[in-house]
Each structure stands twice: as C-alpha cells, then as structure tokens.
C-alpha cells in the first residue's frame, strides 16, 4: 500500500490520469473548516475543458478510509470554483457508484475513477485491477483463531478495552481453560480489532462496540473453514442420550480432557430441528478417551461420533447445559450454513437467536 506522500508525489509529477482526463497539480495542503486541511488542489483537463478540484487523499482502500474521505468532502466548504475529489489507491465499482450518487468525484492509482462536472466532464471508468490488495498483518481475521475476536462481539456487543476483549476470548475457550492451549495474545486481538474497525464492523470511541452484526456474521460465514480433523471415529456406546452424556462428562473430568458437542449436534439448543440420533463430539485427544469408553466402532447406526481436533474455534464460547458442553450459537450457525438446503433454513432460526 503506498504512503500518502508517495500518492501525492505521483499526483505532483502528473502520473495520475483518468483517460481521457489528465490532472495537473496546483498547490499543496488547503485549509478548510478552520483547522482540517485537504491534501491538494489539482486541475483536470480534457481538450478545452478545465475544472479545479480540492483533493482528499487516503493511503488506504478500506471501507472505513473510503467512508471517512467521503464524509469529509461532503461537509467541507471548498473555495469557490473547486469541486471535491477523493483520491485512494483503489476504488471498487460499488464505491465509484456511491461517489457518483453523492456528486463527488474520485480517482485511484489503478485507472478507475468517476469525474462528473455537469456541462463539462462526465467520466466513469472501472475494472482496473487492484494493484494494492490489502496486506493486513493478519491475512484473514474472519477465519480460524482470529475469528474469535469477531465472535466475542456476539457474546457482548461492547467492551471498554482491548484487554477486556482478550480476557473474555480466553476465558470462554475450553481449550485454554482446560487443555493448556496457548491463550490469544493481546497483539492478535489488537490487530484483528483494527481490521474489524477498517471494515466498519466495530467502532472504537469511548468503548469498542459492534456496529454491524449482520455484516460480521456474513463475513464469518464467507470465510468459514471446518476444523482440521485428525481423526473421526463412530461408535455404538449406550442406547440412550442421557446416560451417554453423563458418561462422557465423567470421562472428560476423569481424564481432564475437554469435550464439546459439534455445532450440528447442538442445533436443538438454539432452534427447532431434530438431528439424527448420533451425537458428534469434538475432543482434542481421543487416545485416552477410547481406552475407557465402552462400545465398539461401527458405521452402522452409531450413536456417538468422536472428532479429534484441537481447533480452538469449535470449543470457543461453548455453553454448559445439563452438565454438558454444547457448541456456541455462532459455531452452530456456521456449521449449518456450510450444510445443505435444510440446514441453511434452520440456520435462520439460529441467526435470530444470535441477534436477540
């Protein structure tokens, strides 16, 4: 991602164009609204037509950077004869359309832009490839462990500090509490929060608050990957669910090994849907459990499926009910959304539960 200095340097050297328009740098920082300054004044020209623009330059292409720039230009009282222009490393088609609707021009460093000056210019150009795709410190904060930072906002929508969020994440993870898994670090939480903020999912003012729960859930679904499974065993253990749950919890305590029902086996906690008779359970280590568990492995009508995984996300925010740990509503939702049509329909009920 270029720095603001590099972007303005390109503008000064006449390297920024939006065919057929060319841009000429006029002067640097321009004071507006008392103390806030815009970044440059430029002149766009094509044939005999010339228009002057006051430029707000943002060296990021995130939704937040775009929105901040747009908001600033909307409220700015510009010098007479100047029109507003937003300058970002990359503008996508949706952003260009929004600029057009707002009557504000915008250009990027990838050949995209919208410049509309009634009676003089009307240029709309998109499709230029993003040469500055994000290199956020964490590649994808909606996937795997870092997704727990987003997920924790469905437990509580607001926190006072980053430390508080970090504590909550680690407190709610069975693998950290009962299996000595490494807790999430404060810096990971901080980095993930930065991206959540850039994506306009949370806001950080006096407190850190969830802004768009629906967008967060959508991102979690889009980026969801099932846990890495080391082993999956199906067994016939006891006939009834009740004694089976009791047996599993006793073994879990005896062996000091956390167990949690899978999302699909926890559906009935949050929605009206009867799953099959088989209980699927996540466990970080099966070896000891199998030694003590009566029953036999079988593919024919098993009533217990043991899934060995040390993926923290599937244990995160598990809920204890009747002395057994059940998957969090978010984990249930994600597993259902990865399923078939019927599962996706049921996911809607779970979504309502999450948003309650």
């Amino acid at each position: 991602m270029p720095t603001k200095k590099e972007m303005l340097s390109q503008l000064i050297r006449g390297k920024i164009a939006l065919s057929p328009l060319s841009f000429r740098f006029l002067e640097g920082q321009l004071e507006i609204n008392g103390n806030r300054r815009l970044d440059a004044l430029v002149e766009a020209s094509w044939r005999k037509g010339k228009v002057k623009f006051a430029v707000e330059c943002k060296p990021l292409s995130t939704p937040k950077a775009f929105q901040d720039g747009l908001n600033l230009l909307k409220i700015s009282r510009l010098r007479k004869g100047y029109s507003p222009l937003l300058f970002l490393p990359f503008l996508n088609e949706r952003q260009l359309e929004e600029l057009e609707r707002e009557g504000i021009s915008g250009i990027d460093m990838c050949g995209n832009g919208v410049v509309v000056v009634p009676g003089i210019f009307a240029v709309f150009r998109s499709g230029g490839k993003n040469r500055f795709s994000s290199s956020a410190p964490i590649k994808n904060i909606y996937r795997k462990n870092s997704s727990m930072v987003g997920r924790v906002f469905f437990v509580r929508s607001g926190y006072d500090t980053v430390q508080e969020i970090c504590l909550e994440i680690n407190r709610r993870n069975l693998l950290v509490n009962s299996w000595n898994k490494k807790p999430m670090s404060l810096s990971t939480v901080s980095k993930a929060l930065k991206t959540l903020e850039e994506d306009l999912i949370i806001t950080r003012k006096d407190t850190i608050c969830l802004l768009q729960p629906d967008k967060l859930l959508e991102k979690l679904v889009k980026n969801y990957t099932p846990p890495n499974i080391k082993e999956r065993l199906r067994l016939k253990v006891l006939e009834d669910r009740g004694p089976l749950l009791e047996l599993l919890m006793n073994l879990s305590q005896q062996l000091d090994t956390p167990l949690a029902a899978s999302g699909l086996s926890s559906v009935e906690k949050y929605a009206v849907m009867q799953r099959g008779d088989m209980l699927s359970v996540y466990c970080p280590c099966l070896e000891k459990l199998l030694k003590l568990l009566p029953g036999s492995q079988t593919d024919r009508f098993p009533n217990l499926e043991l899934i060995e995984t040390d993926d923290k996300t599937v244990f995160f925010d598990s809920r204890n009910d009747r002395d057994f740990w059940w998957a969090s509503p978010v984990q249930v939702y994600l597993e259902l959304m990865a399923g078939d049509k019927r599962d996706k329909e049921t996911a809607e009920q779970v979504m309502s539960y999450i948003f309650e």
Binding site: Q274, D277, M278, D299, R300, F301
Partner: protein
Amino acid sequence: MITMPVLQTELLDLLYELHGTDVKLIIGGGFGIYLKTDYVRRIKVQTLLTQWPEPRSTNDLDLFLRPELLIEPAKLKPLAEAITRLGYKVVKGAEKYQFVKPGRGGDKAGSIKIDILTGPQNRFEGTSVRTDSRRARPNPSVGIHAHPVDEALTLEEGLLSVFLDEKSGTGGPMHAEVFLPQPYTFLMMKLFAFRDRIDDTDKEFGRYHALDLYTILATTIESEWKQALRFRDRYRDDSHVVEAGRLVVKFFSSLDSLGMIRLRESSYYRLELQLGEFMSAMQELFPA
C-alpha cells in the same frame, strides 16, 4: 413425466375404491421408495446413510398382492372392478397384470401404469392358483393376475405400515394405509431387476435400479437393518440369496464395477453420496 403427487393421488383414488375391502396393497418400485423416503424424513429417525439422492421420477405403481389374496380370489374382485372403474386399460401381452391409464388426450408421456405383482411361485404350491414365471392365475378367474417375483421370498415379512393423508381425485379426504416391503425384500428385487437390465441398449433402467438400491439402503432404519441381518442368516442357503451375493460381488463391490458405474452415471447422483458405506453395507447384507 408424472410427478410423485400425481401418482399419490392416483393411488389414493384406488385406495378410496378399495375402502372397506380385504385388499391391502404393498407398494414396491420407485413410488414405494419415494413413500419410504418421505416416511423416514417425517419421523426424523436415524438412517443407515445420511446422504440421500433426490427422489427419482416414475410412471409406475407397482402393487404387490399378498399370495392369500390370489388364493381366495373373491377377496380380489374389488381390485379388478376398481381398476376398470378408474379408467385403466389392459396392456396388450400383459393382460390382467398390467394396466395403463393414458394421459390427457391419450398422451402416452403422461400415462400411468399399474403392475400387479406377488411373491414367489412356490407360495402357491398346493393351492388352486396356477403359476408360471409370468403369471399367477387365481381360480376361479376374477380378471386379475399377478406377476410372481421369485426373489421376493420375504415379501410378507417386516412390512412397514404407512398412512397416506390427502384428498383423493375422486372422493373426499383420505386416510389410507399401505404397506412397504422390508428393505431386504426391496434390495433383493432391485438386485435382480438390475441384473435383468444389464444388457439393455438403453442404460437408463440400469441407472434407476442402481440408484434405487442406494436409496433403499440409505433410508433403512436401525430396526429394519437388524431384521434384514436376521433374514440374511435365515435364508442364507436359498438359491436366490446366493445369487444376490454373487450379483453384489460382481456389480457393487468396487467403484469401477458396473453397478457402481451405473449409479454414478445417474442424473440423480451427487458427489456427497456415501458410496463406500453403501458398498460395504451391501456386502454385509449379501455376502458372497
């Protein structure tokens, strides 16, 4: 192609006509499989396989008659009369056990066919019913024959009772009982049906039968599976059961065996189907 609700309405019409008589129908074929799938889906019980194909379309109602009905033909008379009353015509060459109702305007594509079938020929030994490989003929005749299915040796065992609730086309609301064959019986019949179609130029029937075998096993519930294993042990020396074991080895024991190829060629096939578990269950139920 006829849709399943249309076939269900046709069946309800027939059941409406048979209301209060001794005729209890066992529904086989693609429609029987559809009814089983629907039943299991409604009662939400664990089945042998979790991934099922979509129900396939069919034009046929395969109606199995218990041998006792053919042995006491007076009980069968209402069925013959009902079939005539509902506008079914005889199929030439298969008179008295195949009937067809043409679609609107005599359209063959929308026609519905009824096949009357029954259990193995040996069930009629020592009775007044005359049998050969094509027909079981009640005596005295009541206008209905049935095609004997020798491999359906467990036809009357482990039947599943299901109720159809709907408004019939000819009468009022209906709540009618039909019976579905035990999965073991169904699988035996489908294995032989697959064998009989193996050399067809048109491979579509083979694909249907292979798909049906999968669906029958997929929708088998635990009590049925246990019963099927008992049938396996009880009838292990029967020549048809021995042949079934041979057919499974030949056609359903590896992904590149012909039965599995036909299954994978079916337009209803999906990658999610549990082929390994299907083959394993077939081999457990029909050992060589």
